[in-house]
């Protein structure tokens, strides 16, 4: 190497490491990462105790990577490189056709699943009212054909069959309802939830099972409320070059429909659609304003039956469809309603509020992993 070439190499190398050293020093630390949908690590406080407990060192290291200048561009570059060398996934997320991001499904811990399903069974026997049970498969099941060939992706349908056989409840075949429309826009391409259209097909099936005539699709007029939605899978994946999702709503909140949320000490008025979330990262939380421990929805149809839904977040976009078919819809999230369930039971709640029917509705993923289902008593 010539002397001149050596100097060029030295300048490039030292400039690269020192420029980023200085930029990182100057740029203010960021708080929330829109792209990754999480709080970035802040500079840890230095104390002798944190130093010797080794916490300081490891926290400082995550601080350096989290706050690295132009972090989002670096993670995109890494994802691009992965695909350039023939990988078909990044961070466990497959990049499928039509800009669809799908995470492969891993079978749940058998013990957790069995605990959950036996809780459902015992509850169905003792609830005193009809109990419906709906497990919602994700995009990795409904659109498994989009996933790279032979890629690890366990069957969710097998889990559903396993659970339905043991549930003792009135099982609702959400799988076929969705699979029949697999080609339609029933799942967000960048999020793990179903779209409002997906929720509609589930609604149809639900009503059929309950012996109620569902409102036909043609009776709804979908309105696009956002065309810039990037969901959770997008956040996880680092695959930043896909196009965003569109969020539609099919039916407005009826003027007479009253929503109450029981999140804090005092109940507060809620909405079926909280449009404030459309300005934030977490746009799916627009439905019902996100998960609450307990919400009640009272409609004008006082003659119709009342229903209690034990659920996860998929139900948030299903509720608007139910306005015309029930007098009261009680929505309970066991993950956040724990405290109240220490002193009373779900069965007590059913008696107290004169509930006619119960629907247990979970995504297969959450039902297999959630450790709170045992509180269903």
């Amino acid at each position: 190497m010539t002397k001149r070439s050596s100097w060029i190499q030295i300048i490039i190398f030292t400039a690269f490491i020192s420029v980023f050293f200085v930029i990182n020093l100057i740029l203010p630390d960021k708080g929330f990462s829109e792209r990754e949908n999480r709080e970035l690590t802040k500079a840890p406080e230095f104390t002798l105790e944190s130093l010797f407990s080794k916490k300081f060192g490891s926290k400082f290291e995550s601080y350096t990577t989290d706050q690295f200048a132009f972090r989002d561009s670096w993670t995109t570059l890494k994802a691009r490189c992965e695909f350039a060398v023939g990988k078909k996934e990044n961070k466990g997320v497959y990049l499928c056709g039509n800009d669809t991001l799908i995470e492969g499904y891993k079978p749940p811990d058998k013990k957790q699943l069995d605990t959950n399903i036996s809780a459902v069974k015992d509850f169905s026997e003792n609830a005193g009212v009809p109990v419906y049970f709906a497990l919602v498969p994700g995009n990795s099941e409904i659109n498994s054909r989009l996933i790279p060939q032979n890629a690890p992706n366990s069957s969710q349908n097998e889990i559903i069959d396993y659970c339905y056989e043991k549930s003792g409840a009135k099982n609702i075949d959400i799988y076929s309802a969705l699979a029949d429309h697999a080609d339609e826009y029933i799942f967000y391409r960048t999020d793990h939830h179903w779209t409002s259209l997906g929720a509609f097909y589930a609604y149809e099936k639900l009503m059929d099972s309950m012996g109620i005539a569902p409102a036909p699709l043609s009776s709804f007029s979908p309105v696009t409320v956002s065309d810039s939605f990037y969901g959770t899978i997008y956040s996880q994946s680092g695959i930043s070059w896909v196009k965003p999702d569109t969020i539609e709503i099919f039916t407005e909140q009826d003027d007479t429909t009253e929503v109450m949320n029981y999140s804090g000490a005092e109940p507060s008025e809620g909405k079926l659609y909280d449009y404030a979330f459309l300005g934030k990262k977490d746009k799916y939380s627009m439905f019902m304003g996100g998960n609450t421990p307990l919400s009640t929805i009272k409609t004008k149809n006082t003659e119709a039956p009342s229903i209690l839904i034990i659920r996860d977040s998929y139900v948030n976009s299903l509720i608007p469809f139910l306005q015309n078919d029930f007098s009261e819809i009680h929505v309970m999230d066991l993950r956040y309603y724990k405290v109240q369930l220490m002193t009373s039971t779900v069965t007590d709640y059913i008696k107290e509020h004169d509930i006619d029917e119960v629907l247990i509705c979970y995504s297969v993923y959450n039902f297999g992993t959630d450790a709170n289902v045992f509180m269903l008593r």
Binding site: R4, I8, I10, F21, N24, E61, W74, L77, N150, S285
Partner: protein
């Protein structure tokens, strides 16, 4: 601290280099001494004390061995023996105590022995060997006493090779500890070497290592014949690129600071015999054992039987050096067997046979050896070997294998080519001008892509944090 981290590359290194080249020459060693301890103490501050203890003991031993060896060689020898005992005792206690305790507990009547759960001080196996070489070299008259405590401390804790080698012998760097000339050419060659090492570690080893993680964690019912080979070949590549990448970075960083360290790897996977493999793999360790164990034991000078015994001893120790688990001892003896067979019969035959035979055999031995090296227990090894020999529960091949193979095919191809000197030879044949232009571009490219992977590494989202 590790080299392949944002912390090292974009905070530690620029500060260390800037101060090193700004301060007056006489302050360079004290500066290195301090930053070495910071580097070492980053993960485990308490062990700085252990490092300082080791430096002091060996520094003093060196002075006394040097003092006595002129007129009272017996006294010098007892100081040396005492020093070696302390060094080995330190290594034994911090690295092997729990293994010994857990093993002894299995004997009826000794159940009272409790393991202590000691966290292994990082790099202890490397720097203990390194410091031990110092009084031995003085005793043998191979080097002079280092009177300057700071210079000696700088040698022991020198951050580039502190945690993963190469294991440098004192006599090899003694002359560099005082005044080091530094030149732009040397610095630039250090940069090239560091960039190559970084790319090997971050882009190849980390990448292909994921595949081994997947396969080594697979249930025996899922592990197929083809899958087990994909997995262990991935590991064979991972460990080579990880380890040699680290050595490249060490050599490169050394050059940036004006040091020349010995080479540690020389394309081991192109070897045509196991004997050759070990001349090309982790050279500094092999050299250390040859100089300080094999030859003192008599080497090949005391008859064939004694030589074979010496080989067994050296390789049992070499294996055991790699980790506190009996499987490492077996792994060392596994190589002893092949080395002895080669020495007695095979080497001549291999030399006469077509080259690809020796090549194939060597790779097979190395690849099969890594199972023993990397899995934690003999029962795990048993399951894995069964699959590799087509006797496992998982069958011949599964669709998942073909997914992983196609996903990683390009990485495999890149890695296998990079195991050979092919790319280097082609690059060397470029005209001077092309080399001058492409080198800075390649360095920049490596830095940028590696930074992308490093920034992404701790991308560990908890997506429901705000939901």
């Amino acid at each position: 601290m590790v080299f392949s981290s944002i912390l090292f590359m974009f905070i530690y290194l620029p500060v260390v280099l800037a101060v090193y080249y700004i301060v007056p020459l006489k302050w360079r060693n004290p500066w290195l001494f301090v930053v070495n301890l910071v580097f070492y103490g980053w993960g485990e501050p308490v062990y700085i004390l252990l490092m300082l203890f080791s430096i002091i003991i060996n520094y003093i031993s060196g002075i006394y061995v040097g003092k006595y060896r002129e007129d009272n060689i017996k006294k010098a020898k007892s100081v040396l023996v005492f020093n070696i005992i302390i060094n080995l005792a330190m290594l034994m206690f911090f690295k092997y105590y729990d293994l010994f305790a857990n093993t002894l507990r299995l004997i009826p009547g000794l159940e009272f022995i409790q393991p202590l759960g000691i966290a292994l001080p990082i790099g202890i196996s490397f720097y203990t060997f390194q410091t031990m070489s110092y009084p031995i070299d003085i005793y043998r008259g191979d080097s002079d006493v280092q009177k300057n405590f700071i210079s000696f401390g700088t040698f022991v804790a020198l951050f580039p090779q502190l945690i993963a080698g190469p294991i440098i012998r004192y006599k090899d760097v003694a002359s560099q500890l005082g005044f080091r000339a530094s030149s732009a050419e040397q610095f630039a060659s250090g940069i090239r070497r560091f960039s190559i090492g970084l790319a090997k570690k971050v882009l190849i080893a980390n990448n292909i290592g994921k595949l081994w993680d997947t396969y080594s964690a697979m249930a025996s019912s899922d592990l197929t014949f083809v899958g087990s080979w994909i997995g262990i070949v991935a590991f064979s590549l991972q460990i080579y690129f990880d380890f040699s990448g680290y050595s490249d970075m060490a050599v490169g960083l050394g050059r940036m600071l004006g040091f020349e360290f010995m080479e540690n790897f020389n394309y081991p996977y192109i070897s045509h015999s196991v004997t050759e493999f070990w001349r090309r793999w982790h050279i500094s360790l092999g050299t250390w054992f040859r100089d300080y164990v094999y030859i003192p034991l008599g080497g090949n000078r005391k008859g064939k039987a004694r030589q074979l015994l010496n080989i067994c001893i050296v390789w049992a120790l070499t294996g055991f050096w790699h980790g506190a688990n009996w499987t490492f001892l077996l792994w060392g003896l596994y190589y002893a067997v092949f080395l002895i067979i080669e020495k007695l019969y095979l080497l001549d035959a291999l030399n006469r046979a077509p080259k690809f035979i020796g090549h194939f055999y060597t790779i097979l031995v190395a690849v099969c050896g890594w199972v023993l090296f990397q899995l934690n227990s003999l029962s795990e090894c048993g399951v894995y070997y069964k699959a590799m020999f087509g006797l496992g529960d998982g069958g011949f091949v599964s669709p998942v294998d073909s997914y992983y193979f196609t996903s990683f095919a390009v990485m495999f191809a890149i890695a296998i080519i990079a195991c050979t000197p092919l790319a280097k030879n082609l690059f060397d044949r470029l005209p001077q001008k092309a080399k001058s232009f492409s080198t800075p571009a390649l360095i920049l490219l490596a830095l940028i892509v590696c930074t992308g992977y490093l920034v992404d590494a701790t991308y560990n989202p908890f997506l429901y944090f705000r939901f």
